[in-house]
Protein backbone atom coordinates (compact mmCIF):
# COMPACT_ATOMS: atom_id res chain seq x y z
CA UNK A 1 0.00 0.00 0.00
CA UNK A 2 2.70 2.41 1.08
CA UNK A 3 4.94 1.22 -1.76
CA UNK A 4 2.18 1.75 -4.27
CA UNK A 5 1.45 5.28 -3.09
CA UNK A 6 5.14 6.22 -3.08
CA UNK A 7 5.52 4.78 -6.59
CA UNK A 8 2.62 6.89 -7.81
CA UNK A 9 4.16 9.78 -5.90
CA UNK A 10 7.40 9.30 -7.77
CA UNK A 11 5.70 9.17 -11.14
CA UNK A 12 3.72 12.27 -10.24
CA UNK A 13 7.00 13.98 -9.41
CA UNK A 14 8.43 12.86 -12.73
CA UNK A 15 5.41 14.25 -14.58
CA UNK A 16 5.84 17.51 -12.71
CA UNK A 17 9.53 17.66 -13.58
CA UNK A 18 8.74 16.79 -17.18
CA UNK A 19 6.22 19.63 -17.31
CA UNK A 20 8.71 22.01 -15.76
CA UNK A 21 11.31 20.96 -18.32
CA UNK A 22 8.89 21.46 -21.21
CA UNK A 23 7.96 24.91 -19.96
CA UNK A 24 11.66 25.84 -19.75
CA UNK A 25 12.10 24.79 -23.37
CA UNK A 26 9.06 26.81 -24.40
CA UNK A 27 10.38 29.82 -22.49
CA UNK A 28 13.74 29.47 -24.22
CA UNK A 29 11.98 29.41 -27.58
CA UNK A 30 10.06 32.60 -26.74
CA UNK A 31 13.25 34.20 -25.45
CA UNK A 32 14.95 33.42 -28.75
CA UNK A 33 12.07 35.07 -30.60
CA UNK A 34 12.30 38.16 -28.37
CA UNK A 35 16.05 38.48 -28.82
CA UNK A 36 15.76 37.99 -32.57
CA UNK A 37 13.04 40.61 -32.89
CA UNK A 38 14.95 43.19 -30.82
CA UNK A 39 18.21 42.52 -32.65
CA UNK A 40 16.52 42.91 -36.02
CA UNK A 41 14.88 46.18 -35.02
CA UNK A 42 18.16 47.99 -35.14
CA UNK A 43 17.97 51.21 -37.05
CA UNK A 44 20.02 51.02 -40.20
CA UNK A 45 20.97 47.85 -41.85
CA UNK A 46 23.81 45.46 -41.09
CA UNK A 47 24.95 45.39 -44.72
CA UNK A 48 24.99 49.20 -44.95
CA UNK A 49 26.85 49.33 -41.66
CA UNK A 50 29.46 46.80 -42.78
CA UNK A 51 30.20 48.61 -46.03
CA UNK A 52 30.12 52.17 -44.76
CA UNK A 53 28.68 55.33 -46.31
CA UNK A 54 30.65 55.21 -49.54
CA UNK A 55 29.19 51.91 -50.74
CA UNK A 56 27.05 51.95 -53.88
CA UNK A 57 23.46 50.74 -53.76
CA UNK A 58 24.44 47.66 -55.83
CA UNK A 59 27.18 46.67 -53.38
CA UNK A 60 24.81 46.99 -50.45
CA UNK A 61 22.14 44.98 -52.26
CA UNK A 62 24.66 42.27 -53.11
CA UNK A 63 25.85 42.00 -49.52
CA UNK A 64 22.28 42.06 -48.25
CA UNK A 65 21.57 39.11 -50.50
CA UNK A 66 24.73 37.30 -49.40
CA UNK A 67 23.84 37.84 -45.72
CA UNK A 68 20.29 36.75 -46.41
CA UNK A 69 18.87 40.07 -45.23
CA UNK A 70 16.53 40.32 -48.22
CA UNK A 71 14.46 37.36 -47.05
CA UNK A 72 11.27 37.85 -44.98
CA UNK A 73 11.76 38.06 -41.22
CA UNK A 74 10.04 34.82 -40.24
CA UNK A 75 12.20 32.82 -42.66
CA UNK A 76 15.33 34.46 -41.31
CA UNK A 77 14.19 33.63 -37.77
CA UNK A 78 13.54 30.00 -38.69
CA UNK A 79 16.92 29.61 -40.34
CA UNK A 80 18.69 31.34 -37.44
CA UNK A 81 16.93 29.13 -34.92
CA UNK A 82 17.69 25.89 -36.75
CA UNK A 83 21.27 27.12 -37.12
CA UNK A 84 21.45 27.83 -33.36
CA UNK A 85 20.11 24.38 -32.49
CA UNK A 86 22.42 22.57 -34.89
CA UNK A 87 25.42 24.48 -33.59
CA UNK A 88 25.87 26.95 -36.45
CA UNK A 89 24.58 30.38 -35.38
CA UNK A 90 25.94 32.14 -38.46
CA UNK A 91 28.92 34.28 -39.36
CA UNK A 92 30.47 36.84 -37.04
CA UNK A 93 30.57 40.12 -38.96
CA UNK A 94 33.56 41.62 -37.22
CA UNK A 95 35.78 38.58 -36.74
CA UNK A 96 34.73 37.28 -40.17
CA UNK A 97 34.67 33.81 -38.69
CA UNK A 98 31.83 31.42 -37.90
CA UNK A 99 30.21 32.48 -34.61
CA UNK A 100 30.50 28.89 -33.41
CA UNK A 101 34.30 29.02 -33.66
CA UNK A 102 34.58 32.36 -31.86
CA UNK A 103 32.38 31.08 -29.06
CA UNK A 104 34.07 27.68 -28.84
CA UNK A 105 37.28 29.52 -28.05
CA UNK A 106 35.74 31.58 -25.24
CA UNK A 107 33.04 29.42 -23.66
CA UNK A 108 35.36 26.96 -21.83
CA UNK A 109 37.15 29.91 -20.20
CA UNK A 110 33.90 31.29 -18.86
CA UNK A 111 32.66 27.93 -17.65
CA UNK A 112 35.94 27.33 -15.83
CA UNK A 113 35.79 30.77 -14.23
CA UNK A 114 32.19 30.21 -13.14
CA UNK A 115 32.95 26.74 -11.78
CA UNK A 116 35.96 27.93 -9.79
CA UNK A 117 34.02 30.91 -8.41
CA UNK A 118 31.17 28.62 -7.37
CA UNK A 119 33.70 26.29 -5.74
CA UNK A 120 34.97 29.16 -3.61
CA UNK A 121 31.60 30.80 -3.00
CA UNK A 122 29.49 27.81 -1.95
CA UNK A 123 31.40 26.69 1.17
CA UNK A 124 31.94 30.25 2.38
CA UNK A 125 28.31 31.18 1.82
CA UNK A 126 27.16 28.00 3.59
CA UNK A 127 29.35 28.78 6.59
CA UNK A 128 28.16 32.40 6.79
CA UNK A 129 24.51 31.50 6.22
CA UNK A 130 24.37 28.65 8.74
CA UNK A 131 26.55 30.52 11.21
CA UNK A 132 24.34 33.58 11.25
CA UNK A 133 21.17 31.46 11.38
CA UNK A 134 22.49 29.72 14.51
CA UNK A 135 23.25 33.10 16.01
CA UNK A 136 19.87 34.51 15.01
CA UNK A 137 19.21 37.94 16.47
CA UNK A 138 22.66 37.99 18.05
CA UNK A 139 25.46 40.42 17.39
CA UNK A 140 27.25 38.30 14.80
CA UNK A 141 24.01 37.71 12.94
CA UNK A 142 23.10 41.37 12.88
CA UNK A 143 26.61 42.38 11.82
CA UNK A 144 26.62 39.77 9.04
CA UNK A 145 23.15 40.93 7.97
CA UNK A 146 24.38 44.49 7.51
CA UNK A 147 27.52 43.31 5.69
CA UNK A 148 25.72 41.00 3.25
CA UNK A 149 22.89 43.49 2.77
CA UNK A 150 25.46 46.11 1.81
CA UNK A 151 27.46 43.75 -0.38
CA UNK A 152 24.47 42.86 -2.57
CA UNK A 153 24.14 46.56 -3.42
CA UNK A 154 27.81 47.25 -4.12
CA UNK A 155 28.68 47.55 -7.82
CA UNK A 156 30.93 44.78 -9.15
CA UNK A 157 33.55 47.21 -10.35
CA UNK A 158 34.02 48.62 -6.85
CA UNK A 159 34.71 45.12 -5.51
CA UNK A 160 37.14 44.55 -8.39
CA UNK A 161 38.83 47.94 -7.91
CA UNK A 162 39.32 47.47 -4.19
CA UNK A 163 40.64 43.93 -4.78
CA UNK A 164 43.17 45.24 -7.29
CA UNK A 165 44.23 48.04 -4.94
CA UNK A 166 44.79 45.61 -2.08
CA UNK A 167 46.25 42.57 -3.80
CA UNK A 168 48.15 43.97 -6.76
CA UNK A 169 48.97 47.56 -5.91
CA UNK A 170 49.65 47.41 -2.17
CA UNK A 171 50.61 43.79 -1.53
CA UNK A 172 51.81 42.95 -5.05
CA UNK A 173 50.63 39.36 -4.68
CA UNK A 174 48.50 39.01 -7.78
CA UNK A 175 48.46 40.42 -11.32
CA UNK A 176 45.78 43.05 -11.98
CA UNK A 177 44.95 41.58 -15.40
CA UNK A 178 43.85 38.01 -15.93
CA UNK A 179 46.55 36.52 -18.13
CA UNK A 180 45.47 33.29 -19.71
CA UNK A 181 47.56 31.31 -22.18
CA UNK A 182 47.36 27.77 -23.49
CA UNK A 183 50.74 26.66 -22.20
CA UNK A 184 50.12 27.73 -18.61
CA UNK A 185 50.41 25.27 -15.75
CA UNK A 186 47.48 25.02 -13.34
CA UNK A 187 49.38 26.99 -10.73
CA UNK A 188 50.07 29.85 -13.12
CA UNK A 189 46.48 29.76 -14.33
CA UNK A 190 45.06 29.93 -10.81
CA UNK A 191 47.32 32.86 -9.97
CA UNK A 192 46.23 34.57 -13.17
CA UNK A 193 42.52 34.21 -12.49
CA UNK A 194 42.62 34.61 -8.71
CA UNK A 195 41.35 38.20 -8.89
CA UNK A 196 38.34 37.55 -11.16
CA UNK A 197 37.43 34.55 -9.01
CA UNK A 198 37.76 36.56 -5.82
CA UNK A 199 35.57 39.35 -7.19
CA UNK A 200 32.90 37.06 -8.58
CA UNK A 201 32.82 35.00 -5.38
CA UNK A 202 32.31 38.04 -3.18
CA UNK A 203 29.40 39.17 -5.36
CA UNK A 204 27.74 35.76 -5.17
CA UNK A 205 28.55 34.97 -1.54
CA UNK A 206 26.53 37.84 -0.13
CA UNK A 207 23.36 36.81 -1.96
CA UNK A 208 23.89 33.11 -1.33
CA UNK A 209 24.56 33.55 2.38
CA UNK A 210 21.36 35.57 2.81
CA UNK A 211 19.27 32.93 1.09
CA UNK A 212 20.95 30.09 3.02
CA UNK A 213 20.26 31.87 6.29
CA UNK A 214 16.60 32.29 5.32
CA UNK A 215 16.33 28.59 4.42
CA UNK A 216 17.86 27.42 7.70
CA UNK A 217 15.79 29.82 9.80
CA UNK A 218 12.64 28.63 8.08
CA UNK A 219 13.45 25.14 9.39
CA UNK A 220 14.39 26.41 12.86
CA UNK A 221 10.84 27.61 13.42
CA UNK A 222 9.40 24.13 12.88
CA UNK A 223 8.06 22.13 15.85
CA UNK A 224 10.56 19.28 15.40
CA UNK A 225 13.41 21.64 16.12
CA UNK A 226 11.68 22.90 19.24
CA UNK A 227 11.28 19.27 20.27
CA UNK A 228 15.00 18.65 19.80
CA UNK A 229 15.82 21.76 21.81
CA UNK A 230 13.54 20.63 24.64
CA UNK A 231 15.20 17.18 24.59
CA UNK A 232 18.46 19.00 25.30
CA UNK A 233 20.24 18.27 22.02
CA UNK A 234 23.36 20.40 21.54
CA UNK A 235 22.90 23.32 19.11
CA UNK A 236 25.52 22.11 16.61
CA UNK A 237 23.97 18.67 16.57
CA UNK A 238 20.51 20.17 16.04
CA UNK A 239 21.76 22.00 12.98
CA UNK A 240 23.77 19.13 11.56
CA UNK A 241 21.49 16.18 12.30
CA UNK A 242 18.03 17.68 12.48
CA UNK A 243 17.91 20.82 10.38
CA UNK A 244 20.38 20.18 7.56
CA UNK A 245 18.68 17.07 6.11
CA UNK A 246 15.48 19.07 5.84
CA UNK A 247 17.06 22.33 4.74
CA UNK A 248 19.30 20.81 2.08
CA UNK A 249 16.75 21.19 -0.72
CA UNK A 250 15.90 24.83 0.02
CA UNK A 251 19.63 25.48 0.28
CA UNK A 252 20.36 23.86 -3.10
CA UNK A 253 17.47 25.94 -4.43
CA UNK A 254 19.05 29.09 -2.98
CA UNK A 255 22.47 28.14 -4.40
CA UNK A 256 21.08 27.69 -7.92
CA UNK A 257 19.19 30.99 -7.73
CA UNK A 258 22.15 32.97 -6.48
CA UNK A 259 24.58 31.37 -8.94
CA UNK A 260 22.60 33.22 -11.60
CA UNK A 261 24.29 36.34 -10.22
CA UNK A 262 27.48 34.99 -11.76
CA UNK A 263 26.03 35.68 -15.22
CA UNK A 264 25.56 39.40 -14.68
CA UNK A 265 28.72 39.72 -12.61
CA UNK A 266 30.80 38.06 -15.31
CA UNK A 267 29.92 40.85 -17.75
CA UNK A 268 31.71 43.42 -15.60
CA UNK A 269 34.40 41.21 -14.09
CA UNK A 270 35.61 39.67 -17.35
CA UNK A 271 35.82 43.13 -18.90
CA UNK A 272 37.68 44.79 -16.05
CA UNK A 273 40.27 42.01 -15.81
CA UNK A 274 40.45 41.50 -19.57
CA UNK A 275 39.56 37.84 -19.17
CA UNK A 276 38.95 36.12 -22.53
CA UNK A 277 35.52 34.73 -21.70
CA UNK A 278 32.05 34.75 -23.20
CA UNK A 279 30.83 37.82 -21.30
CA UNK A 280 33.65 40.08 -22.47
CA UNK A 281 33.05 38.69 -25.96
CA UNK A 282 29.43 39.75 -25.69
CA UNK A 283 30.40 43.26 -24.59
CA UNK A 284 32.67 43.48 -27.63
CA UNK A 285 29.81 42.30 -29.80
CA UNK A 286 27.64 45.14 -28.44
CA UNK A 287 30.35 47.73 -29.04
CA UNK A 288 30.94 46.57 -32.61
CA UNK A 289 27.23 45.79 -33.15
CA UNK A 290 28.08 42.30 -34.34
CA UNK A 291 24.49 41.06 -34.18
CA UNK A 292 24.92 37.34 -35.03
CA UNK A 293 27.59 37.03 -32.34
CA UNK A 294 25.55 39.05 -29.85
CA UNK A 295 22.42 36.97 -30.43
CA UNK A 296 24.33 33.73 -29.93
CA UNK A 297 25.99 34.97 -26.72
CA UNK A 298 22.68 36.24 -25.35
CA UNK A 299 21.05 32.87 -26.05
CA UNK A 300 23.82 31.02 -24.22
CA UNK A 301 23.42 33.28 -21.18
CA UNK A 302 19.65 32.89 -21.21
CA UNK A 303 19.97 29.11 -21.53
CA UNK A 304 22.39 29.04 -18.59
CA UNK A 305 19.97 31.12 -16.52
CA UNK A 306 17.04 28.86 -17.39
CA UNK A 307 19.07 25.75 -16.52
CA UNK A 308 19.89 27.20 -13.09
CA UNK A 309 16.23 28.04 -12.51
CA UNK A 310 15.26 24.54 -13.65
CA UNK A 311 17.71 22.98 -11.18
CA UNK A 312 16.29 25.18 -8.43
CA UNK A 313 12.71 24.15 -9.20
CA UNK A 314 13.48 20.46 -9.66
CA UNK A 315 15.19 20.27 -6.27
CA UNK A 316 12.18 21.98 -4.75
CA UNK A 317 9.86 19.41 -6.37
CA UNK A 318 12.00 16.43 -5.33
CA UNK A 319 12.32 17.71 -1.79
CA UNK A 320 8.70 18.47 -1.13
CA UNK A 321 6.65 15.34 -0.50
CA UNK A 322 3.41 17.31 -0.78
CA UNK A 323 4.41 18.63 -4.18
CA UNK A 324 5.41 15.10 -5.19
CA UNK A 325 2.06 13.69 -4.16
CA UNK A 326 0.03 16.21 -6.13
Amino acid sequence: MAAASSASGMSAALTLIGKRFASSLLTLLLVSLTIFVIAQLLPGDAAQEALGQSATAEQVAALRHEMGLDRPAHIRYASWLTGMVSGDPGQSMVANMPVAEVIAERLPNSLLLAALSALVAVPVALAIGIGSAMNRGGRIDRALNIVTLSMVAVPEFLVATVAVLIFSVKLRWLPSIALVADDMTWGEYLRGVAMPILTLSIIVIAQMARMTRAAVIDQMDRPYVEMAVLKGVAPVRIVMRHIMPNAIAPIVNAMALSLSYLLGGAVIVETIFNYPGLASLMVNAVTSRDMPLLQACAMIFCAAYLILMLIADVTAILANPRLRAQ
Partner: protein, 277 residues
Protein backbone atom coordinates in the same frame (compact mmCIF):
# COMPACT_ATOMS: atom_id res chain seq x y z
CA UNK B 1 2.84 65.05 8.47
CA UNK B 2 6.43 66.24 8.90
CA UNK B 3 6.29 65.60 12.63
CA UNK B 4 5.11 62.04 12.12
CA UNK B 5 7.78 61.42 9.50
CA UNK B 6 10.32 62.70 11.98
CA UNK B 7 8.98 60.38 14.65
CA UNK B 8 9.21 57.41 12.30
CA UNK B 9 12.78 58.27 11.38
CA UNK B 10 13.65 58.40 15.08
CA UNK B 11 12.19 54.94 15.63
CA UNK B 12 14.42 53.39 12.95
CA UNK B 13 17.30 51.16 14.03
CA UNK B 14 20.78 52.61 13.59
CA UNK B 15 21.31 50.94 10.21
CA UNK B 16 18.06 52.50 8.98
CA UNK B 17 19.11 55.95 10.21
CA UNK B 18 22.41 55.60 8.37
CA UNK B 19 20.50 54.53 5.26
CA UNK B 20 18.09 57.46 5.53
CA UNK B 21 20.96 59.90 6.00
CA UNK B 22 22.73 58.53 2.92
CA UNK B 23 19.58 58.72 0.82
CA UNK B 24 18.87 62.32 1.87
CA UNK B 25 22.51 63.22 1.28
CA UNK B 26 22.50 61.88 -2.29
CA UNK B 27 19.14 63.45 -3.10
CA UNK B 28 20.56 66.78 -1.97
CA UNK B 29 23.71 66.24 -4.03
CA UNK B 30 21.64 65.37 -7.09
CA UNK B 31 19.55 68.52 -6.63
CA UNK B 32 22.17 71.04 -5.59
CA UNK B 33 25.49 69.35 -6.45
CA UNK B 34 26.33 71.27 -9.62
CA UNK B 35 25.77 74.56 -7.74
CA UNK B 36 28.25 73.52 -5.06
CA UNK B 37 30.94 72.39 -7.48
CA UNK B 38 34.13 74.35 -6.84
CA UNK B 39 35.25 74.23 -10.50
CA UNK B 40 33.50 73.98 -13.88
CA UNK B 41 32.85 70.34 -14.80
CA UNK B 42 35.00 70.13 -17.91
CA UNK B 43 37.76 72.56 -16.91
CA UNK B 44 41.39 71.43 -16.68
CA UNK B 45 42.38 72.89 -13.36
CA UNK B 46 45.19 70.78 -11.91
CA UNK B 47 48.73 70.58 -13.26
CA UNK B 48 49.08 66.95 -12.22
CA UNK B 49 46.88 64.10 -13.43
CA UNK B 50 45.67 61.59 -10.81
CA UNK B 51 46.63 64.01 -8.06
CA UNK B 52 45.92 62.90 -4.53
CA UNK B 53 43.74 64.65 -1.99
CA UNK B 54 44.62 68.31 -1.38
CA UNK B 55 43.11 71.53 -0.03
CA UNK B 56 42.48 72.82 -3.56
CA UNK B 57 41.11 69.52 -4.86
CA UNK B 58 39.34 67.62 -2.10
CA UNK B 59 39.11 64.43 -4.12
CA UNK B 60 42.18 64.98 -6.26
CA UNK B 61 42.32 65.33 -10.03
CA UNK B 62 41.34 62.94 -12.81
CA UNK B 63 43.17 61.52 -15.84
CA UNK B 64 43.04 64.86 -17.62
CA UNK B 65 43.69 67.03 -14.57
CA UNK B 66 40.05 67.94 -13.93
CA UNK B 67 38.64 68.35 -10.43
CA UNK B 68 37.17 65.01 -9.32
CA UNK B 69 34.84 66.52 -6.71
CA UNK B 70 33.23 68.83 -9.27
CA UNK B 71 32.80 66.00 -11.75
CA UNK B 72 31.36 63.76 -9.05
CA UNK B 73 28.87 66.40 -7.90
CA UNK B 74 27.51 66.78 -11.43
CA UNK B 75 27.78 63.06 -12.25
CA UNK B 76 25.56 62.19 -9.28
CA UNK B 77 22.73 64.10 -10.94
CA UNK B 78 22.82 61.77 -13.95
CA UNK B 79 23.03 58.62 -11.82
CA UNK B 80 20.31 59.56 -9.33
CA UNK B 81 18.09 61.36 -11.83
CA UNK B 82 18.16 58.72 -14.57
CA UNK B 83 17.73 55.86 -12.12
CA UNK B 84 14.88 57.58 -10.23
CA UNK B 85 13.05 58.39 -13.48
CA UNK B 86 13.58 54.88 -14.84
CA UNK B 87 12.52 53.25 -11.56
CA UNK B 88 9.41 55.43 -11.47
CA UNK B 89 8.57 54.51 -15.06
CA UNK B 90 9.23 50.81 -14.45
CA UNK B 91 7.15 50.75 -11.26
CA UNK B 92 4.21 52.69 -12.64
CA UNK B 93 4.11 50.67 -15.87
CA UNK B 94 4.48 47.35 -14.04
CA UNK B 95 1.84 48.28 -11.47
CA UNK B 96 -0.60 49.59 -14.08
CA UNK B 97 -0.28 46.35 -16.03
CA UNK B 98 -0.61 44.33 -12.82
CA UNK B 99 -3.83 46.14 -11.87
CA UNK B 100 -5.15 45.59 -15.38
CA UNK B 101 -4.39 41.89 -15.02
CA UNK B 102 -5.98 41.70 -11.57
CA UNK B 103 -9.31 43.24 -12.56
CA UNK B 104 -9.32 42.13 -16.19
CA UNK B 105 -9.97 38.43 -15.61
CA UNK B 106 -8.06 35.43 -16.98
CA UNK B 107 -8.27 36.58 -20.60
CA UNK B 108 -6.08 39.57 -19.81
CA UNK B 109 -4.13 38.04 -16.94
CA UNK B 110 -2.95 34.81 -18.62
CA UNK B 111 -1.23 36.17 -21.74
CA UNK B 112 0.18 39.18 -19.89
CA UNK B 113 1.61 37.06 -17.09
CA UNK B 114 3.08 34.50 -19.50
CA UNK B 115 4.73 37.31 -21.45
CA UNK B 116 6.21 38.83 -18.29
CA UNK B 117 7.40 35.41 -17.09
CA UNK B 118 9.22 35.06 -20.38
CA UNK B 119 10.85 38.49 -20.08
CA UNK B 120 11.87 37.84 -16.50
CA UNK B 121 13.84 34.78 -17.57
CA UNK B 122 16.26 36.93 -19.53
CA UNK B 123 19.01 38.09 -17.14
CA UNK B 124 18.68 41.88 -16.81
CA UNK B 125 22.26 42.77 -17.79
CA UNK B 126 22.11 40.54 -20.85
CA UNK B 127 18.74 41.98 -21.84
CA UNK B 128 19.92 45.55 -21.52
CA UNK B 129 23.07 44.77 -23.53
CA UNK B 130 20.92 43.47 -26.41
CA UNK B 131 18.70 46.55 -26.16
CA UNK B 132 21.68 48.92 -26.16
CA UNK B 133 23.17 47.14 -29.16
CA UNK B 134 19.91 47.46 -31.06
CA UNK B 135 18.88 50.99 -30.14
CA UNK B 136 21.98 52.81 -28.94
CA UNK B 137 22.47 54.68 -25.69
CA UNK B 138 21.33 58.27 -25.69
CA UNK B 139 20.11 59.48 -22.29
CA UNK B 140 16.43 59.04 -23.22
CA UNK B 141 17.01 55.56 -24.60
CA UNK B 142 18.99 54.53 -21.52
CA UNK B 143 16.08 55.63 -19.34
CA UNK B 144 13.63 53.60 -21.44
CA UNK B 145 15.93 50.56 -21.60
CA UNK B 146 16.50 50.52 -17.84
CA UNK B 147 12.79 50.95 -17.18
CA UNK B 148 11.77 48.25 -19.66
CA UNK B 149 14.30 45.82 -18.19
CA UNK B 150 12.75 46.12 -14.74
CA UNK B 151 9.03 46.27 -15.60
CA UNK B 152 8.59 42.45 -15.40
CA UNK B 153 10.04 42.26 -11.87
CA UNK B 154 7.69 44.96 -10.62
CA UNK B 155 4.76 43.42 -12.48
CA UNK B 156 5.30 40.06 -10.81
CA UNK B 157 5.21 41.55 -7.32
CA UNK B 158 2.41 44.01 -7.97
CA UNK B 159 0.29 41.32 -9.61
CA UNK B 160 0.69 38.95 -6.66
CA UNK B 161 -0.40 41.74 -4.31
CA UNK B 162 -3.27 42.92 -6.51
CA UNK B 163 -4.68 39.45 -7.18
CA UNK B 164 -4.76 38.77 -3.43
CA UNK B 165 -6.49 42.06 -2.72
CA UNK B 166 -8.98 41.51 -5.55
CA UNK B 167 -10.28 38.45 -3.62
CA UNK B 168 -10.94 40.45 -0.47
CA UNK B 169 -14.48 40.98 0.74
CA UNK B 170 -14.41 44.75 0.47
CA UNK B 171 -13.48 44.48 -3.19
CA UNK B 172 -16.26 41.96 -3.75
CA UNK B 173 -18.61 44.44 -2.10
CA UNK B 174 -17.42 47.22 -4.38
CA UNK B 175 -17.95 44.94 -7.35
CA UNK B 176 -21.47 44.06 -6.16
CA UNK B 177 -22.14 47.76 -5.70
CA UNK B 178 -21.57 48.03 -9.44
CA UNK B 179 -18.29 49.96 -9.40
CA UNK B 180 -16.34 49.92 -12.65
CA UNK B 181 -13.08 48.05 -13.05
CA UNK B 182 -11.10 51.25 -13.23
CA UNK B 183 -12.54 52.47 -9.96
CA UNK B 184 -11.87 49.12 -8.27
CA UNK B 185 -8.26 49.07 -9.43
CA UNK B 186 -7.46 52.67 -8.53
CA UNK B 187 -9.63 53.42 -5.51
CA UNK B 188 -9.96 50.01 -3.84
CA UNK B 189 -6.89 47.92 -4.65
CA UNK B 190 -4.05 50.36 -5.26
CA UNK B 191 -4.16 52.26 -1.93
CA UNK B 192 -3.76 48.99 -0.04
CA UNK B 193 -0.63 47.88 -1.83
CA UNK B 194 1.21 51.17 -1.75
CA UNK B 195 3.68 50.27 1.05
CA UNK B 196 5.15 47.12 -0.47
CA UNK B 197 5.19 48.94 -3.81
CA UNK B 198 7.28 51.72 -2.29
CA UNK B 199 9.78 49.16 -1.00
CA UNK B 200 9.85 47.58 -4.44
CA UNK B 201 10.43 51.00 -5.98
CA UNK B 202 13.49 51.36 -3.76
CA UNK B 203 14.80 47.97 -4.88
CA UNK B 204 14.20 48.80 -8.56
CA UNK B 205 16.08 52.06 -7.99
CA UNK B 206 19.07 50.17 -6.58
CA UNK B 207 19.04 47.64 -9.44
CA UNK B 208 18.80 50.41 -12.02
CA UNK B 209 21.62 52.45 -10.46
CA UNK B 210 23.79 49.32 -10.60
CA UNK B 211 22.69 48.50 -14.14
CA UNK B 212 23.23 51.99 -15.53
CA UNK B 213 26.57 52.51 -13.83
CA UNK B 214 27.59 49.03 -15.01
CA UNK B 215 26.69 49.99 -18.58
CA UNK B 216 28.51 53.31 -18.29
CA UNK B 217 31.47 51.48 -16.84
CA UNK B 218 31.51 49.27 -19.96
CA UNK B 219 31.34 52.39 -22.14
CA UNK B 220 27.83 51.50 -23.27
CA UNK B 221 25.87 53.81 -20.99
CA UNK B 222 25.96 57.60 -20.63
CA UNK B 223 28.17 58.94 -23.42
CA UNK B 224 30.66 61.82 -23.17
CA UNK B 225 30.56 64.76 -22.72
CA UNK B 226 27.83 63.74 -20.24
CA UNK B 227 29.15 61.58 -17.44
CA UNK B 228 27.41 59.68 -14.67
CA UNK B 229 29.25 58.08 -11.77
CA UNK B 230 29.88 54.88 -13.73
CA UNK B 231 31.47 56.85 -16.57
CA UNK B 232 33.76 58.55 -14.06
CA UNK B 233 35.03 55.14 -12.94
CA UNK B 234 35.58 54.10 -16.54
CA UNK B 235 37.43 57.19 -17.72
CA UNK B 236 39.85 56.98 -14.82
CA UNK B 237 40.49 53.24 -15.07
CA UNK B 238 44.10 53.90 -16.15
CA UNK B 239 44.73 55.26 -12.67
CA UNK B 240 43.95 51.91 -11.10
CA UNK B 241 47.61 50.87 -10.99
CA UNK B 242 48.51 53.85 -8.81
CA UNK B 243 45.41 53.56 -6.66
CA UNK B 244 44.06 56.94 -7.81
CA UNK B 245 41.35 58.63 -5.78
CA UNK B 246 39.73 59.56 -9.10
CA UNK B 247 38.63 55.96 -9.66
CA UNK B 248 37.82 55.06 -6.07
CA UNK B 249 35.71 58.13 -5.24
CA UNK B 250 32.95 57.67 -7.83
CA UNK B 251 32.83 53.89 -7.22
CA UNK B 252 32.43 54.45 -3.48
CA UNK B 253 29.84 57.15 -4.19
CA UNK B 254 27.67 54.65 -6.09
CA UNK B 255 28.07 52.10 -3.32
CA UNK B 256 27.02 54.53 -0.57
CA UNK B 257 23.93 55.47 -2.57
CA UNK B 258 22.78 51.90 -3.21
CA UNK B 259 23.76 50.58 0.20
CA UNK B 260 21.92 53.52 1.79
CA UNK B 261 18.70 52.72 -0.03
CA UNK B 262 19.08 49.01 0.80
CA UNK B 263 19.65 49.69 4.51
CA UNK B 264 16.65 52.00 4.63
CA UNK B 265 14.31 49.50 2.94
CA UNK B 266 15.55 46.70 5.19
CA UNK B 267 14.98 48.80 8.32
CA UNK B 268 11.50 49.88 7.30
CA UNK B 269 10.79 46.22 6.84
CA UNK B 270 8.03 45.79 4.26
CA UNK B 271 10.31 44.46 1.61
CA UNK B 272 8.98 42.42 -1.24
CA UNK B 273 11.27 39.93 -2.92
CA UNK B 274 12.55 41.23 -6.22
CA UNK B 275 14.44 39.98 -9.19
CA UNK B 276 18.17 40.18 -8.79
CA UNK B 277 20.66 42.09 -10.82
Amino acid sequence: MIASAFKRAKALPLSGKVGLALVIFWLAVALFGPMLAPYPVGAFVAYEVFDGQSAKHWLGSDYLGRDVLSRLLSGARYTVGLAAAAALLASSTGTALALTAAVGGTKVDEPLSRFMDMLISIPSKIFSLVLVAAFGSSLGLLLLIAAFTYVPGNYRIARALAVNLAQMDYVQVARARGEGRFHIAIAEILPNMIHPLLADFGLRFVFIVLLLSGLSFLGLGVQPPDADLGSLVRENISGLGEGALAILAPAVAIATLTVGVNLLIDAIGFSGKGKGR
